[in-house]
Amino acid sequence: MKRPGPKHYLLAPGVLLVSCVFLAPFLLLVVLSFWTQPEGTLLVEPSLTVENYLRIFSDPYYLRGLARTIWLSFATVFFSLLLGFPAAYWIVRRAVRLRRIVMALMLLPMVCGALLPTLGLVNILSPLGIINGSLKQLGLIDRSIPLLGTQTGILIGLIQAFLPLMVLPLVAVMERLPLALEEAAMSLGARPPQVWWRVVMPLAAPGIVAGSVLVFCAALTSFVTPQILGQGKIATFAAMTWQQASLVLDWPFASALAMVMLLIMAALACMVLGFRRLNWVRP
């Protein structure tokens, strides 16, 4: 019997599509990021300069924006993991009949796109929204607490939007863990928290890593959620890119901002690959 060989014809259409529609514009951006916009015009001029990159890294404003975006993305990962891990565990181990429904509900915001859930969140967080409205009804406050236009508001929106990206890979990995392992640990006298820390968590590590990477990248590049919930007061890196690309029309600089974001993600990917390799080396 012959093993099926490599199927390049299966891969070709997909790779072709991505190459034409994604990689070509991507290369254009790489080139653009080294071009400039002369004084007095919005048209770009071919050149070879690192001016755009220097501007990002020499200006505390952009560095602060970068730091803020990275911190928000890490915070999103942290809280998604904190909330997503127990939920995934419950879905895999406890939910029997509810399982599909719970999964479907969790997927709902992802399927609805960024706009609809964000509009809902605005109605919850706005000065006249549900939280402030309830507090005012209860007589606890006179003037609204600002929730929109704050980092907290954005963080809430990001967690809400990207939690499913954490839960899905966690569920996928945990499903493959035999229940017998936990039972064995318990029978050897381990208490449930120990079982979680010492048995479940390490074995679920690939899922944790996959979920964290997905959530981090999504949070880093997300635009609609921070823009609407931040009301333009909190600049994230994607919002800065948008402002430069779509309002100031300085495309070379906007491209450079996007490239920096991409490099951060690439660095992260390398770290994760390194981590995986370490894992493989270990028995």
Partner: protein, 259 residues
């Protein structure tokens, strides 16, 4: 006690993810132009307005057509690519996988502007296929991911067995692998469809005047005169239709598992 705690956390998580949508549905029945809590008067007027508006209807239809075509491309190419990846040597596999997942890495705004320039050079700006291919491209990574996960769970020996019993490759695939992969195909189709259907950013730049989609219309209004509550009503209907699809799949799955 611990069980209750775990269940409680899960319930909270579910509530947290779904709450904004519940509020959205709730506020689409509020009479006011800008939602405030406590709400003032119950009203169906935004739903009536939604059905009365020709523009909303035609843009919803545009969105649906673009999403269906993009989904078809994305699912077919994604499934093929996942099959191909599964049968590729480990070394080149990582690189190819990278390429296929790459569209997730750039902010869509800047990508859309660059794509618009390329389309313009090629003279396909504003065309249907330009838009559909763009949508297929950014939904493709989701299809590939889901299909890779699905295929990896299918025992490869099954198809090999069928072939060793004399089935031709295509037949073995169609009779063995395809039926087993059906839930995954359905999932990636649903994901692709709704991600395409709800896209704002790419369509704002790429969609021509003949293919103005619903979210573009919504967003262009949101930034001018304000949130037209009509759009909240339409959002409510979109959420309702998603729930119906989910419920139907659930029913279908239950029947299938009983059979």
């Amino acid at each position: 006690m611990r069980r209750v705690l775990l269940g409680g956390v899960t319930a909270l998580v579910v509530l947290f993810t779904v709450a904004p949508l519940i509020v959205l549905v709730f506020s689409s029945f509020d009479d006011g132009k800008f939602f405030r809590f406590p709400p003032r008067e119950f009203s169906m007027r935004w739903f009536e307005a939604a059905f009365a508006s020709v523009e909303y209807r035609s843009s919803l239809l545009n969105s649906a057509v673009v999403a269906v075509v993009a989904t078809l491309i994305s699912v077919v190419l994604g499934t093929a690519a996942a099959l191909g990846l599964q049968r590729t040597a480990l070394r080149s596999r990582a690189a190819l996988e990278m390429v296929l997942l790459a569209p997730l890495t750039l902010p869509l705004v800047i990508w859309a502007i660059a794509l618009l320039q390329i389309y313009s050079w090629l003279g396909v700006g504003g065309t249907f296929w330009g838009l559909a291919l763009a949508h297929a491209t950014f939904t493709l990574p989701f299809s590939v991911r889901v299909m890779l996960a699905t295929l990896s769970a299918i025992e490869p020996g099954l198809e090999l067995a069928a072939r060793s019993l004399g089935a031709r490759p295509w037949r073995a695939f169609a009779r063995i692998t395809l039926p087993l992969a059906l839930p995954g195909i359905a999932t990636s189709a649903a994901l692709s469809f709704f991600i395409s259907f709800n896209d704002v950013i790419v369509s704002t730049f790429i969609a021509g005047s003949s293919w103005m989609t619903f979210p573009v219309r919504l967003y262009s209004q949101l930034r001018g005169q304000g949130i037209d509550p009509t759009t909240l009503a339409i959002g409510t209907m979109i959420i309702a239709s998603i729930l119906i699809v989910v419920a139907l799949t659930e029913l279908f799955n239950r029947k299938a598992s009983r059979a």
